[in-house]
Amino acid sequence: MNSATLITRNNQLREELTSENKKYYEDLMVYIRSKSTFKRESDIEQILFDILTDIIDAQSNGQSARNYFGHDPKTSADAILKSLPRSFAESLKFGLAIIACYVLVFAIPALISPVAGLDLGNLAIMAILGLAFALLVLRLINQSIYQERRAFKILGYGIGMVAFIIISIGGIFIKTPVVLHLNGWIGISVIAALFIFATYLYIKVFHHDLPATIIYAVIGIYALLGIGTRLPVVDEWLTKPLLPKSLFLWIMIPLCIIAALIGGFGTYYLLTKNDTKK
């Protein structure tokens, strides 16, 4: 069985657990997945699947998951993670996927106005910061699972949100001299190419699940706007400024907070890899 099959089977089998056992197992699962960025996904999914089937066996013999697997799942989970080798290919895949998503999500909107140009330096800096942020979010989720003290949990969410706001605002205000102007048909071609790549990722990698659909739809609108501004007829009524700049910042901050909340819960949701197509 490959990882995708294992994840699907895992989603189905998990429904057989009692609510108490399900909570115990899902905590273990999210803990292991959020700490396995640099491990091979197939290794992780196999061991998670084996543990799940064993817990189901224990459950049908009247033994709870806690009683079977132990009262200190964190220590066992860490030992499992330690025994699995690191994978360079998997790490690279993770890094490239995050950077590619970041570039798509931010480059397409940045291409809306043909006059402003695309700041490649900003894009590169922000993509790397975005990767660091993704690692930070995973780390914070991982830390929060077996964290008993509420204060530390809240502190974790706080750190995540501050980091997100800094990155979002940095993305707007950091300027570098490496600016690429893409006018006319060249611009349209670049936007179209990026959008085709986004479509590929959306279908092949994210299997059109719900969070990806929302992001994909937004990127789609931006792509259309970007193409529109490069067409002479549409250009005129699209480029009129809608809001003054000072007001823009006050709208950005609450939007960032909302986006951070969606991002945090979205990541948790992706780690449980719930089957949305059921």
């Binding site: 697997f69 200190d72 799942p73 030992a79 330690k82 025994s83």
Partner: protein, 122 residues
């Protein structure tokens, strides 16, 4: 006198006594798997029957992974009697050698320890 192998954290810690317990548990797994192929849950049931009921079974999984990595056992997915496919573990030649070595070591060790205990209680 009855000695019980207890403590939920023993096997997971890194102090020498837990390293010893890990080695013993590995030896027990080698003996079990040599009898017939086992998968995770069936191993834990056999261990419980043999008096290892108090060992949290979460400690078996990392041990199986590292034993597979060391080439002592190998796993194969195959259908089980009930439910989904299970990963059954088989002993390799290296595993058989390691099992014999463990039994020898254990015989020497337990004889020595027993001698000391009996001498003390006389």
């Amino acid at each position: 006198m009855h000695y019980k192998l207890v403590g939920s954290d023993y096997l997971a810690q890194t102090d020498p006594s837990s390293q010893m317990l890990k080695g013993i548990l590995q030896g027990c797994l080698l003996i079990l798997i040599n009898e017939k192929p086992f998968y995770g849950y069936s191993i834990s049931q056999e261990l419980s029957k043999s008096g290892f009921a108090d060992i949290p079974k979460g400690t078996i999984y990392p041990l199986l992974i590292s034993m597979e990595k060391k080439g002592l056992i190998w796993g194969k997915r195959q259908p089980s009697n009930e439910g989904p496919q299970r990963k059954y573990y088989y002993l390799t030649d290296a595993g058989k050698t390691e099992k014999d070595r463990f039994i020898d070591q254990w015989a020497t060790l337990s004889a020595g320890v027993n001698n000391l205990i009996h001498k003390g209680s006389e």
